[in-house]
Symmetry: C2
DNA sequence: CGCCTTCTTGAGATGACTCAATGGTGGTGG
DNA sequence: CCACCACCATTGAGTCATCTCAAGAAGGCG
C-alpha cells in the first residue's frame, strides 16, 4: 500500500562494503569479483521511512536486502486482519532472500524506524552463489540461524506465558544489540522503537495485555519500559523469567 | 535417552538413489561424482523403532538425514518439561542439516512410527556443497521451504484458535500425503499415527483440550479421527476453518 | 493549540488449562 | 486363550490467563 515511500539513494556497489556484521562477512567473500562487473550487476541503497513497508507478503520476491540502519519487523498477516510478528531485523541482518526464481515473499517487512537498506537482485545473488561455494555455505548458515530463531519462537508461542514471551523478546534484543554495540548509556538500557502494539504482535498478545505485563515487570522491579527505550533493572531475573539460553554457535 | 534403538542396516551409497521426492532430486545432482569415491564418503541406512529418537536437541550435529519411510516429529523441549512440536517429517524430507561444523541440533527428532532413514555425514555434505553449486541452491531451497512452514506455524500459534490450528495441521498433512500418494482408500482418508497428545504438542494445546476439539470437529461433521487414521468428511469446510492457503511455489 | 497516536486502567467474558476419574484397546505373558 | 497391564482417549467440574469492550490520560507533531 504505502510501499512507495521507498527511495533509491544511490547505486554504487562499493557501498556494500559498509554492510556491517553478518552481511559484511557475507559479501566480502565475493567483493572482488563482484565489484569488477559493477556495470551489469548493480546494487542500490534505499531509504524508507518509519511505518512504511520494504516489501509485502505475497509480492514477487525480486530483491533481497541487507539492513544498514534502523529496525524492521518481519510479519505475516492473519485472515482476520490481525498481524503476527515473526522477528525483528537489526542492522546487518540479511532478509528477503528467496532461493527460487519466480517466488514470492513469505512475509512482509515493516519499518519500525527510518531505515536504510542495501538491495540485491535475487537473480544476481543466485549467480553469485553459483560461482562462489563459500557464499552458498554462508547463506545456508544465515538461513539456519533464522530457522533456529523461528523454532525458539514456536516454542515460546506454544508453551510460554505472556510474561515469559515478553521477557524473552527483550532479553534477546538486549543481547543482539549488545553484540552490535547499540545499547544506550553505560549499561542495561536499550533503544526500543516498538510500540506496545507491535510487541504484542511479536509475542502473540493483545496490546492491552502486553501493557499489563509490562506494568507488572515494572512493579516487580525487573525492567522499566518507556517510549522508545527500555531499562533493564535486573537482567539475571529477566533472563530467568524468559528462560533465555544464550546462543551456542558464535 | 533411548537414542540407541538406532540400528545401522547397511552402508551403501547406492541406496540413496531410492530417496524419494525432494531428496531424490537433491542428491541425483551429485550422484555420479559422489558414488565414485564411495570408499571415503559412505552413507548408511538406519532403522529406528517408534518412540525412539533419531537425534536429540543439543546433541552434536554430526549427521543429516533423508527420511525413507515412516513419520518423525521434530520438537523442542521446554524447561518446564513440556514439549513443543515443530513439524512432522514425512518420507522424502531432508532433516538435521547444519551448515556449520561444530554445531548442535536445534531440535530433537522423535519417531512416531517405525522409521528408516538415510544418513549423511555433515562434513561430507559440506564437501559436496562446495563442489556442486546446484546442490547448494537446492539446500537453500529446502531451508527456505522449512522456514516458510515455520513462519506459517508462528502465525498459527500466535493468532489462531485451537480448532483452527488442529484443522490446519490435518489439512496440511492431508495435502502433503496426497502429493506422496500416501492417502488411504480412495479418498479423504489419511493415516494418522500421532497420539492426541502429540497433536497437542504440535498445536500448542493440552491433550485434554485437543481431544475436545477433535470431538467437536466430529460432531460438526467435519472429520472423524480414530486411532491411526483420520477421515475428512468435509474438506472444503475443514480448509476454511483452518484458513489453509495452498502453497504457491511447486 | 488541537488532533492523533499510544498508553493505561477497569470490568466482564471466554477459551484453554488443571485435576481427576473412567473407559477402551492392543499387546504380552502365563 | 485369557487376564492383566500399559497406554490412550474421553468426560466432568472448576480455575485462570488472556481477550474484548470501553473509556480516559499522556505525549508528540503539525
Amino acid at each position: 500500500m504505502q510501499n512507495n515511500k521507498l527511495t533509491e539513494v544511490r547505486t554504487s556497489p562499493t557501498r556494500c562494503a559498509e554492510c556491517p556484521i553478518r552481511a559484511k562477512a557475507l559479501f566480502q567473500v565475493v567483493a572482488d569479483d563482484y565489484l569488477q562487473d559493477a556495470e551489469s550487476r548493480r546494487t542500490a541503497q534505499y531509504r524508507l521511512t518509519s511505518r512504511s513497508h520494504l516489501y509485502q507478503e505475497g509480492a514477487p520476491a525480486t530483491m533481497a536486502y541487507t539492513l544498514f540502519s534502523g529496525w524492521l519487523m518481519l510479519y505475516r498477516n492473519h485472515s482476520d486482519g490481525s498481524r503476527q510478528g515473526l522477528r525483528i531485523a537489526l542492522p546487518g541482518d540479511f532478509i528477503g532472500y528467496a532461493p527460487l526464481s519466480e517466488s514470492v515473499y513469505s512475509h512482509g517487512a515493516l519499518a519500525i524506524t527510518d531505515v536504510t537498506v542495501c538491495g540485491f537482485r535475487q537473480a544476481d545473488l543466485h549467480a553469485m552463489i553459483d560461482n562462489h561455494a563459500d557464499l552458498a555455505r554462508q547463506i545456508t548458515a544465515i538461513q539456519a540461524h533464522y530457522l533456529h530463531t523461528c523454532e525458539v519462537n514456536i516454542l515460546g508461542l506454544g508453551r510460554k506465558t505472556a510474561e515469559q514471551r515478553i521477557a524473552y523478546t527483550v532479553v534477546e534484543l538486549y543481547h543482539r544489540l549488545e553484540r552490535r554495540d547499540q545499547l544506550l548509556g553505560g549499561g542495561h538500557e536499550l533503544p526500543f522503537p516498538l510500540t506496545q502494539e507491535m510487541l504484542g504482535e511479536l509475542t502473540g498478545l493483545t496490546p492491552v495485555h502486553t501493557n499489563r505485563v509490562l506494568r507488572k515487570l515494572r512493579s516487580d522491579g525487573v525492567m522499566i519500559s518507556e517510549r522508545q527505550r527500555i531499562e533493564i533493572l535486573d537482567l539475571p531475573k529477566l533472563a530467568e523469567i524468559a528462560d533465555y539460553r544464550p546462543p551456542v554457535g558464535s
